[in-house]
Amino acid sequence: MDRKKISKADLGRWLDTIAGKYELIGPTEDEGIIQFGPVQSSAELTLEYANSLIPPKSLFFPPVESLFAFRKRGEEIQLEETKPLQQDRVIFGIRNCDVGSLSLLDRVFCDDLEDSYYRERRERTTLIALACPTPPRSSCFCTTFGIDPLSPAGSDILLTDVGDVYLVDAVTDKGEELVALGEGLFAPLTEGEEKELQPPPVDMPQLDVRELRERLEALWEDEYWEKLSLPCLGCGICTYVCPTCHCFDISDVGSTSDGVRYRCWDSCMYSDFALMVSGENPRPTKRERTRNRYFHKFSTFPSRYGTGYACVGCARCLVHCPGGVEITEVIKDISAKEGVSDR
């Protein structure tokens, strides 16, 4: 579809029309925290945000979800599956780093071992991405990982703020359906506007990650990990705010005769994450756990799924780590390490 425009005043009208037909989810502010949540009307949304604290991966892979309920009566066991969604959804305002993370998570949850809960949420959701404000936050580094904050790649529609109007790029059938809902609110761009209405280019520091994986893999036994892990507190913030982390735990809550099987996020930074029933723990100290996190992002994930790095440069871990373990510094440190240490 050709590029269109919508006035800022009409955006709310369009979203309200969408909310009449779909579950509308977008950025809201509560207690000083930006989060993606369901809204009844566009008036509940905020547009003054860089990004949400918890990434929108939580809308596809929730922090806690019921998988099914079970009942046992005598010898009879009844299972009741949980429906992941009641209604088709539209997510408004997702940023491109998080769009990029979904294509990585798709590999985990939709490749050969399909996760029906995740898949249903993905299929029944339309993404309206909102190009990032310029200048970006000083912490952002998505372009390092090949993400273009102004591209519609991966979403269904991209909106770009160019002053009085948003440019509208609907790039999938799902996206065009939503644009069709807003009849009369969208206008084509004149030839002059095609040239004039351009977002300012995004200027972001670029980290050198060309040989990151090879360099990292040569550092498995390096003393670097000991030092890096000293300030780590062993909490789970970095993994819970990470849009690509996807580890989970499963537990039955209730009694042996009546209960619910839940899945909830887990974190490889927890000391008991890799603990086995035997008492053996292959990652006994923070050194191994910290090393594992970076290996997973920059070596294990790419080698297992044949993708790029499993980091999208959203900088959430950088900003929120209470111990000040900074992923950008790790990348720089690894790139600066000379030679190969004793493997």
């Binding site: 909490c235 537990s251 839940y262």
Partner: protein, 319 residues
């Protein structure tokens, strides 16, 4: 003061008086200060000191327990209370720690500063202590903010701005005034006045946001159990799922376990990514402990936390 600190650290590392030193350095942006572990003299020039050096570094001494030598630590007076308690609770021997006391004239609460300035901390390039106020630089412009506007809650009622127990000190606190009439337990008393159901509803709403990242536990000096009750799987006392009822129990168990040991360092509230006002919960504990047992944690070495102590004539009507 930074020069003095850096020189001292270089000297202590050179003498072998400690294996490494823990202080502060600037993080990815000027207003973001993070812990700095100095293992080599050449890194001492990264150490900084100022009103954004928020973290209580005391928890880190526990991971240095097994070192052959000592660990050096920069402590504000408030953080030193954790050292006192760790020693009293037999978690580390005092002579394993080289305490470098720093005179603190108040720390900035970044969330308050963002509200007062109306800009994100990302825009703040410098914060300087100037007695009764802070000089704050945003985009090249310097503005003056009275300390009462942006200080961390705990700083209003600071009991000792410099540690009473130190091996080295970087100086004395210059007197300053805070233009405020609020009292230490104002926020707690306001909550206490609410009817029980409203008070419960208030806390349940706060705990609902909890994502159970455990940051409040991990940053707390007092959470040093080898196996935390929350991690036990047999029996499983508490489920890991961040459901409201589990979150409520999580926070109440943690609070009760810290009764009489909480030193009001405010770290739990500061690190909470979802802004749960844990400081108020723990302030309530301190108030109760002060009223019931006339005890304040971390203020001196020769008293015992009331809930780890007993006397033969203690009342025990519930037994």
């Amino acid at each position: 003061m930074e020069d003095k600190l850096q020189e001292l650290v270089v000297e202590l590392l050179g003498d072998g008086a400690m294996e490494y030193f823990i202080g502060y350095r600037q993080g990815f942006e000027p207003s973001h200060v993070v812990p700095c572990f100095v293992t080599d003299k050449s890194e001492a020039d990264r150490l900084i000191w100022g009103p954004l050096c928020l973290q209580n570094l005391s928890k880190y001494v526990l991971q240095a327990r097994d070192l052959d030598g000592k660990v050096g630590l920069l402590v504000k007076g408030c953080d030193a209370r954790a050292i006192v308690e760790l020693v009293k609770q037999h978690q580390i021997e005092r002579d394993k720690i080289v305490v470098v006391g720093v005179p603190c004239e108040g720390q900035v609460d970044p969330r308050k500063m963002e509200q007062v300035l109306g800009v994100s901390m990302e825009q703040v390039t410098d914060v300087e202590d100037a007695g009764d106020e802070f000089l704050v630089k945003v985009g090249g412009e310097v503005s003056k903010l009275g300390k009462e506007q942006v200080l961390r809650d705990k700083c209003f009622y600071c009991k000792h701005p410099t540690s009473f127990d130190y091996d080295y000190t970087l100086g004395e606190v210059q007197p300053f005034t805070i233009d405020s009439e609020s009292e230490e337990y104002d926020a707690v008393e306001k909550l206490e006045e609410l009817p029980l159901e409203e008070r419960r509803a208030y806390w349940l709403k706060q705990f609902e946001r909890c994502i159970r990242c455990n940051a409040c536990r991990e940053v707390c000096y007092g959470c040093y159990c080898k196996e935390c009750i929350f991690d036990r799987t047999d029996p499983r006392w508490l489920d890991r799922t961040p459901l409201p009822r589990e979150n409520e129990i999580y926070h109440l168990i943690r609070a009760v376990h810290l009764a009489g040991r909480c030193i009001d360092c405010g770290e739990c509230e500061r690190v909470c990514p979802v802004n749960i006002p844990l400081g108020r919960l723990y302030k309530k504990l301190q108030k109760d402990i002060a009223e019931l047992f006339d005890y304040e944690a971390g203020m001196e070495y020769d008293t015992v936390p009331p809930l780890v102590d007993f006397e033969l004539d203690d009342q025990d009507p519930f037994l």
